[in-house]
Structure formats: structure tokens, C-alpha cells
């Protein structure tokens, strides 16, 4: 498909043109900061208007694009109790035509992981709230050139310049221009809108080199190949490492809510008088009541078991059920963890254990 060159300072014009073409444009934006040393820079994806400042291409946003496909809270329907009658009101499935700009390769790769859960490809149920949004959404991805210390996408089969799941992919070249690659039909539509800003055929060689150079900057390198067979050996479920590494976990949901592929949700009725909403909202396997049964029994009764579940979900359950990895290596769970619980430490530990035959050991100090 088509390749071209775009000037980086034309990104504002891209936003203008897409807005004029009736797209809802989403881009990463820095959030206002309070005075004082305690505040840090936070960038989130938000709807952008012409002229707003954005930070496309500057670091990885604090939270990903998940909220635009799977919002942190949304109604399933509204109900109202009128005497003996219950009146239900459905929610609209008519979502705006959206383009998300400046998505990092890890984030855009995560879309297929979410799709595996919510579409009827594997699960046998089509969650229209997700799939209808996805149909209307176009992803314009943007290669990383400066991966940070927590990035580990190369350890899970991706790369800083990966275009998996992307509709239109941009790579920043050392000369400051952007190499644009159209990947899909939806991407072609975007390219047609911004056609006036595109020139030439781009520089495929420089783009390749930029990708290689970025990949070399990644310092967190783990071997994920031995993880699946090791996890599939159920004898390792009781290994001492789970508790040793996981007992410091405090049980917040920061890792799961920042994670681009975590998709668990809960449903409650939010009642107000005789009416209310049935609401679907994010839930986290790290919460103590996530597996709490009505009987009072909790199948994952301690925190290390909950993190073990998270690791298994990413590297085993996803592969067993959907045939792909549940982790895209964005590193947000590492940056966001209050106690520096590090998923790559688990990866390293597993690789280490897998390399030593019969290394499974129950630590006598535990239990």
C-alpha cells in the first residue's frame, strides 16, 4: 500500500483536516499540573479540537487508548419501575466516527487482544459496545523512537516500530519528517483526507533503521519463549516464586487499569429511587473481592495468588484460549506500581527456572 512523507509540524494540520472531515479526533495530551514538586507529568488520550496542544510522539501516555473502546464505566440499559411495570431504555450503539492519533505500537497491538475477548471470534458472544466502537475507530500509530527504561515490547514479540493492528503507521525519522505507511482501507480514507500534506514515497530504508535504532535502546530484555511451557506445567502453580515475588503486592488495581489488555469488568445496578442504570465498569483481578463467592469463600484468598493470576492470564490463559500473548510490553504496570512489583522480574524468574530442569522447589519457610 501507499507510503509517503509527512512533515512533523503538519500534525496540527492533520488534526484540523480530520476534524473538518467529521472525525472525532483523539490524541494524547498533557494534563494541567498543580504547583509544587509532588506533581508529575501525566498524558492521557482525550478528544482534541483544532488548535489544542498535544504531545504526539513525546513519550508513552500514562493511560492508553482502552477507554475509547472499553470505557471505564458505561451503562448497559436504564430501567424504571412504574408500578407493576418495568420500563427498559436501551443505550445507543451509534458511536461517532473516530480517529485516534499518535497511538504507540504497543497500544495499537493491544486492540486485537481486547477484540479476542469482546468479539465473537473466540468467545461466542459479540459485545456490541466494543465491536461497534471498534468498527468506527481508525488507529494512526506512531513508532517509538525513545523507549524508556520500563518498556519491554521486544520481549513479547513486538517492536518499537511495530504496526500490528494499525491502519496508518507513522515513523519519525532522524531528519524530523514522518514516514507514513497506509495499512488498511480505513487508513486509506485517512490518507485521502490528509492527502495535501503527504508527499513522495517516503524513505523505507530510514524507517527501517529508525526502528532498529529504537529497539536497541530497550534495556529490559526478557526471554518469553520458555514462559508458556513452564506455566502449562501445572506443577509450577505451587512454586515458591509466586509468593516470594508477589507478597509485597498491596492489592490496588493500578497495573490492571493502566494495562491496555486487561479487560475485566463488573456489573452493578445503580439505583436511585425507582429507577436506575445497569452499569458496566472496570474491575480488577487484584482486588480482594474479585473472586469472593457469595458463600464467603474466596478462591484467591491472598494477594500473591491474585498477581499469579494476572501473570498467568497474560502469558498462559490468553495463549491457551486465544492463541496470542496478553501482554504488549508497554511497561505501564511497572511504572504505575506503588511498590515496584515488576512483571518482567516474573518473566526473568520463570525463564531462569525453566532453564534448570526439576528446579521446582517449595520454600520450607512458607506455609
Amino acid at each position: 500500500m501507499r507510503t509517503a512523507t509527512l512533515q512533523k509540524n503538519d500534525l496540527d494540520r492533520v488534526i484540523d483536516l480530520l476534524s473538518q472531515a467529521d472525525y472525532r479526533v483523539i490524541a494524547p495530551q498533557n494534563q494541567p499540573r498543580l504547583d509544587g514538586p509532588d506533581s508529575i507529568d501525566v498524558a492521557v488520550f482525550k478528544e482534541i479540537q483544532s488548535g489544542d496542544s498535544h504531545n504526539i510522539g513525546e513519550g508513552l501516555s500514562t493511560t492508553g487508548i482502552k477507554p475509547f473502546l472499553f470505557p471505564k464505566d458505561e451503562p448497559l440499559f436504564a430501567y424504571e419501575n412504574r408500578g407493576k411495570k418495568v420500563v427498559l431504555t436501551e443505550v445507543s450503539l451509534d458511536f461517532p466516527k473516530t480517529v485516534i492519533l499518535g497511538v504507540r505500537p504497543c497500544d495499537v497491538a493491544s486492540v486485537s487482544s481486547l477484540d479476542a475477548v469482546f468479539s465473537d471470534k473466540n468467545a461466542g458472544f459479540n459485545d456490541e459496545l466494543f465491536t461497534k466502537r471498534l468498527e468506527k475507530t481508525t488507529f494512526v500509530s506512531y513508532s517509538c523512537t525513545e523507549p524508556d527504561v520500563s518498556c519491554f515490547c521486544t520481549s513479547v514479540g513486538l517492536a518499537p516500530d511495530s504496526d500490528k493492528g494499525s491502519d496508518l503507521h507513522m515513523t519519525e525519522l532522524p531528519d524530523g519528517t514522518l514516514h507514513v505507511e497506509v495499512k488498511t482501507k480505513a487508513g486509506e480514507k485517512i490518507a485521502a483526507v490528509i492527502d495535501a500534506l503527504l508527499s513522495g514515497d517516503g524513505d523505507a530504508v530510514a524507517r527501517q533503521q529508525a526502528g532498529v535504532a529504537a529497539a536497541e535502546k530497550i534495556t529490559r530484555l526478557r526471554d518469553s519463549a520458555p514462559i508458556l511451557p513452564w506455566l502449562q506445567d501445572l506443577g509450577n502453580f505451587g512454586d515458591e516464586m509466586w509468593q516470594r515475588l508477589g507478597e509485597k503486592c498491596l492489592g490496588c488495581g493500578a497495573c490492571t487499569f493502566e494495562c491496555p489488555t486487561c479487560h475485566c469488568f463488573d456489573i452493578v445496578d445503580e439505583n436511585s429511587g425507582n429507577k436506575g442504570y445497569r452499569v458496566k465498569f472496570w474491575d480488577s483481578c487484584q482486588f480482594d473481592h474479585f473472586t469472593l463467592h457469595a458463600s464467603g469463600h474466596n478462591t484467591r484468598n491472598s494477594q500473591f495468588e491474585r498477581y499469579r493470576n494476572r501473570f498467568n492470564c497474560k502469558f498462559k490463559i490468553y495463549e491457551d484460549v486465544f492463541g496470542e500473548k496478553g501482554c504488549v510490553g508497554c511497561g505501564r504496570c511497572i511504572r504505575g506500581c506503588p511498590v515496584n512489583l515488576d512483571i518482567t522480574e516474573y518473566m526473568a524468574e520463570v525463564a531462569h527456572k525453566a532453564a534448570i530442569p526439576n528446579a521446582m522447589s517449595a520454600d520450607p519457610d512458607f506455609e
Binding site: P37, D38, T62, G251, A254, V279, N340
Partner: protein, 297 residues
């Protein structure tokens, strides 16, 4: 300093007096440290103590985190001054007994506001604002302190440390509401603020209860307001100001501003500073017959 603590910790673990020593070890990045549970004497070699040690370790002593406590009879804990104030407050609230913990204290020069600001040293630009008004850099109550502990005058009133608070207080009510509404838009209710807090010690948090549902569980703005107000109210007169709630927030909502504001109110109204005494009751579980009632008609 840390050498002496390591040595003492090793000695107490070897003699069996302590089952575990909770401290800080090098994290997975050079900018970070991570909590460590030393169960074997040799684990104590991993202990570190410097400006990167942001975590408030007494969070592991409260009831919510009952699991690692299984089998601990006596816990050693390495604390900065503010952590030890949190322990003192837990004892004042009967959440902990003094003889269940063995406190290793050390002089603290302050900690970094957020690990991502660590550039090899601690300086004005990256030191947490809570450290600027700290009077427990020499910790209050310790079982082990390397060297001689100097006397410090701590009679002064509570000082608000966050510069942002002054800006917020000056705003109109409407602007302040709008400020929080916009900030809370980012909140997705991961409850990191709750989990890192040494004083959030309920076994089942009110937000996790659905019958009745006092706080909306979904993270729409109404529910987020409900949660942060509830959290702040439950910490009135109890918060010891470690600022971990703000530091742990993945989307940088400065929720400790609520706590700081309330500490100021409590100081002015009831002359109470949390975390300085194991005997004085927290202000909201006691009363004086001549308490201020200017607001009452």
C-alpha cells in the same frame, strides 16, 4: 547508618527475636526501591535506606494485608520518621500493639517526590513537599536508632506543606469544584490511594460494599467524588501525612490535598496532631463539652 541497621536486623533475625524485618531493597530500576520482607538473616544484606525509599511500610502492618502477616509474631520494620508516626497512630487506634513491632529508625533527609524524578541525588527540585515541613526527620519512637538520638522540639503546629493547597483555598467554591471535577475525570478507581494508606485498615472498605451501596462503584465523576470525599472523611484526624496516596496515584490526582486541608482544620479546632502520641485519642472518637460550635444555629 544502614550498615548498623542491617547488623542489628541480622542479629535479631538470627536470635529469633524477630520473624521478619520489613525494609527497602533495590528496585528493578535504578530510580526505585521496593519493599522487602527479610525472613532469613542473609536477606538483610539487601536492605537500603536513602532518598528513594518512598513507600510507607506500615501499610503492611494493617489488617487489610493480613496475608504476609501470617506467622509473624514480632515484626521488625524500618521506618522513616513519617512511617513511625503512622505506626504510632495505628497503635493509638488499637490497630496494632506496641510490642508486636520492633522499630528500626534512622535519620531521614527527605525522600524524592516521585521515583521518576530521581536523578541520583535528592535536592530541592525533586524532594517531596511533605519533607519541607517535617519535624520527625529524627524519628519519634524507635527501638533501635544508630547512634545518639538528639532531642527535637516538636511542639509547633501542623504546617501545610503542599504549595497547591494555598492556590486551591483561594479559589471560589465553584472553581474549586470544577478543578476537582476535571481532575477526577482521570480517576479510574484503582484504589491505589486506599491500598498504600497505612490508615485504611478496614477489612472490607465501604466502597466494596454493595448492600447498601453508599459509594457508586463505577468511576463516573459522581462516583469518584463520592469515593474521594468518603476517603478523606474517614481519614480526618488520622492521616499522618505520608503523602503516599498522591505519590501512588497513577494519574497524579493530588488526593492528599484533602487530607492536608483536614489536618489543618483539626489542628486549629482541636489542637491535635496525628501520630505523635499512642495515648491521646484521635479527635473524632472523643469530645469536649466546650468544643467550638460557631457554625451551629
Amino acid at each position: 547508618m544502614i550498615e548498623q541497621i542491617r547488623e542489628k536486623a541480622r542479629e535479631l533475625l538470627e536470635s529469633g527475636e524477630l520473624d521478619v524485618v520489613i525494609g527497602y531493597a533495590e528496585g528493578s530500576d535504578p530510580t526505585r526501591t521496593t519493599p522487602i520482607f527479610c525472613r532469613k538473616p542473609e536477606d538483610t544484606d539487601k536492605l537500603v535506606l536513602d532518598g528513594r525509599c518512598v513507600n510507607t511500610l506500615p501499610a503492611y502492618l494493617n489488617k487489610r494485608h493480613e496475608y504476609p502477616k501470617k506467622g509473624w509474631k514480632k515484626t521488625g520494620i524500618i521506618g522513616k520518621g513519617c512511617d513511625i508516626r503512622a505506626i504510632t497512630q495505628l497503635i493509638a487506634e488499637n490497630q496494632l500493639k506496641r510490642d508486636e513491632v520492633y522499630i528500626f529508625g534512622a535519620e531521614c533527609e527527605g525522600v524524592v517526590a516521585h521515583p521518576e524524578k530521581w536523578d541520583g541525588s535528592l535536592h530541592e527540585g525533586n524532594c517531596a513537599s511533605k519533607c519541607s515541613a517535617c519535624d520527625v526527620k529524627i524519628p519519634l519512637d524507635t527501638d533501635f536508632y544508630p547512634g545518639e538520638k538528639p532531642e527535637v522540639d516538636r511542639s509547633g503546629p501542623y504546617m501545610v506543606s503542599a504549595p497547591a493547597l494555598a492556590t486551591l483555598v483561594k479559589m471560589d467554591d465553584e472553581d474549586r469544584f470544577a478543578f476537582w471535577r476535571d481532575d477526577f475525570d482521570r480517576c479510574f478507581k484503582c484504589y491505589a490511594c486506599r491500598e498504600v494508606c497505612p490508615h485504611c485498615s478496614c477489612n472490607i472498605c465501604i466502597t466494596d460494599r454493595t448492600m447498601p451501596s453508599w459509594v457508586d462503584q463505577a468511576a463516573h465523576t459522581k462516583g469518584v467524588f463520592g469515593w474521594h470525599l468518603t476517603r478523606a472523611m474517614h481519614l480526618v484526624g488520622r492521616c499522618t501525612g505520608c503523602g503516599e496516596c498522591t505519590r501512588a496515584c497513577p494519574v497524579n490526582i493530588q488526593v492528599d490535598l484533602f487530607n492536608q486541608k483536614m489536618k489543618e482544620v483539626i489542628q486549629e479546632s482541636f489542637d491535635y496532631k496525628s501520630g505523635y502520641s499512642m495515648e491521646v485519642k484521635p479527635p473524632l472518637i472523643t469530645y469536649n463539652t466546650d468544643d467550638q460550635e460557631t457554625y451551629i444555629r
